[in-house]
């Protein structure tokens, strides 16, 4: 019974989390968009940014998802090894998505391969997508909730290179992803670059890269410089909000890396749209939770 109560409490909390995450952008993203808006001078860019902020205001006021593509639900978990409720988490997240889908409501987006029918409740085979990391010794569970929309998933790519292709391969990949399909992915984008030794490890890192809070930097000084250089260079392309030409193209470029095999370079690029619906919450062992990403997580 206690177990069922705990699960129910967690499920309802996560429905709340998905609700505000679907409506309100995290503080760092909102502030960055304001900063980029101020830099724009053309009428067209002003119209677009005005629409962005008008829409966010209305989403809050009318309590509706700010973008109709509420995506596939992704949960990136950092689980304390001493968190007492680990066993129920995945099942509870699936139940929470099912409820959120009907209650908020979310758009029904999930189709299972080979069946090719909409499941109707935003759950499916391995959906929601859950990724686990551990927090040794902690009693908390930190959850990044992310709405992975179709448009911003499309430019994603992961590719292998030989060492002789060097860092140019990385630069080329980032530019190609942003300047081609990225234009249609609702810029200004957050660009995640994953550098590793095989495609799956690079792809996961590229995802972790764009989930990082804006303003954070790669721990290696050369990595941090690379992020800054890529951000400046992509902004010089002048893609602007919605790809209609402007002063900027991206909110940030983040790079995450792992050691590479001496014989390989693996590059992945994932992009996130301006409507970057990600939140970070921390559950404690008593299942109370705090919101770390949104000052104004109004319920």
């Amino acid at each position: 019974m206690a177990h069922e109560q705990a699960k129910e409490r967690f499920v309802e909390s996560m429905v709340q989390v998905m609700d505000f995450t679907s409506r309100i952008l995290p503080d760092d993203v909102f502030d960055k968009l304001k900063e980029l808006q101020a830099a724009e001078t053309s009428d067209m860019q002003r119209v677009i940014y005005d629409a962005y902020f008008d829409n966010l205001e209305k989403a809050k006021e009318l309590k509706r998802p700010c973008c109709q593509d509420t995506g596939i639900l992704h949960f990136y978990l950092s689980a304390g090894t001493e968190f007492p409720h680990l066993g129920m988490v995945e099942e509870a997240l699936e139940e929470a998505v099912r409820r959120a889908s009907a209650q908020i409501p979310l758009r029904q987006n999930t189709i299972n391969y080979f069946e090719e029918r909409n499941t109707g409740d935003d759950t499916g085979e391995r959906v929601p997508w859950v990724h686990w990391d551990l927090l040794p010794g902690s009693q908390d569970l930190e959850i990044i909730t992310y709405f992975a929309g179709g448009g911003c998933c499309l430019p994603g790519r992961s590719k292998m290179y030989k060492p002789s292709d060097g860092y140019q391969a990385i630069v080329d990949n980032v530019f190609d992803a942003v300047a081609d399909l990225g234009i249609n992915a609702c810029p200004p984008l957050v660009v995640g670059v994953g550098l590793g030794h095989n495609i799956e490890n690079a792809a996961v890192l590229s995802k972790k890269a764009y989930l990082r809070p804006l303003g954070t930097r790669h721990p290696h000084p050369k990595g941090a410089r690379f992020e800054r250089d890529l951000t400046e260079a992509l902004n010089r392309l002048g893609i602007g909000a919605q790809g209609l030409r402007g002063e900027n193209s991206v909110m940030a470029v983040h790079v995450e890396s792992s050691g590479r095999h001496t014989a390989t370079i693996a590059v992945a690029v994932s992009v996130a749209c301006y409507a970057h619906r990600r939140s970070l919450v921390r559950f404690h062992s008593d299942l109370s939770f705090e919101v770390l990403s949104h000052k104004e997580a109004g319920h």
Partner: protein, 207 residues
Amino acid sequence: MKKIITTPISFESIKDLRTGDIIYLTGTLVTGRDDVYLRVVMENMACPFDFNQMAIMHAGPIIKEEPGKNTMVAIGPTSSIRMEAYAGDFIRRTGLRLMVGKGGMGEKTSRACEEHGAIHCMFPGGCAVIAATCVESITHVHWRELGMPEALWEMKVKEFGPLIVTIDTTGANLFLENKAYYASRLDECKQPVLESVKDIMHIQTNK
């Protein structure tokens, strides 16, 4: 002053619009995306809505469905480029006048727009709530079995916009022009980054 286009849309009312112009739409607007185009163009199924002189929106909305009542919760545009393979034929077959979507479309669609007097407009992506507030009612749904995002939702809209003209009736294509512009700047913009990583590559090749 707002430039408002009403349905049914005459060629006369859109022929002088040029890429970059901003308009609003009043009348009937019907959603249709990947599966609708596929059914009509590839599977030759009769379209349950007559698009002659009408407007389509590339969008998969969120609808609150209750017995006897459908309410628009959120409707923003989806990437129109996904419809590029079929849109030309779709315009030819149906007499469609206006497409609303996100981002641009390709050469095939701009040719069809020029030949048949149609235009493509973009609505700011992700702005699903301001779009929903321009929807007065949902009058019909067709092909609901395709799923909520893929079905044809027939809406009464009022001053739906801002819509930025991206392909006009002369076949001019704003996004193709922009894409060419970005492509022309790629090498120049990349150069400083490549310079900056040279020392890292240098260390590698010495090992």
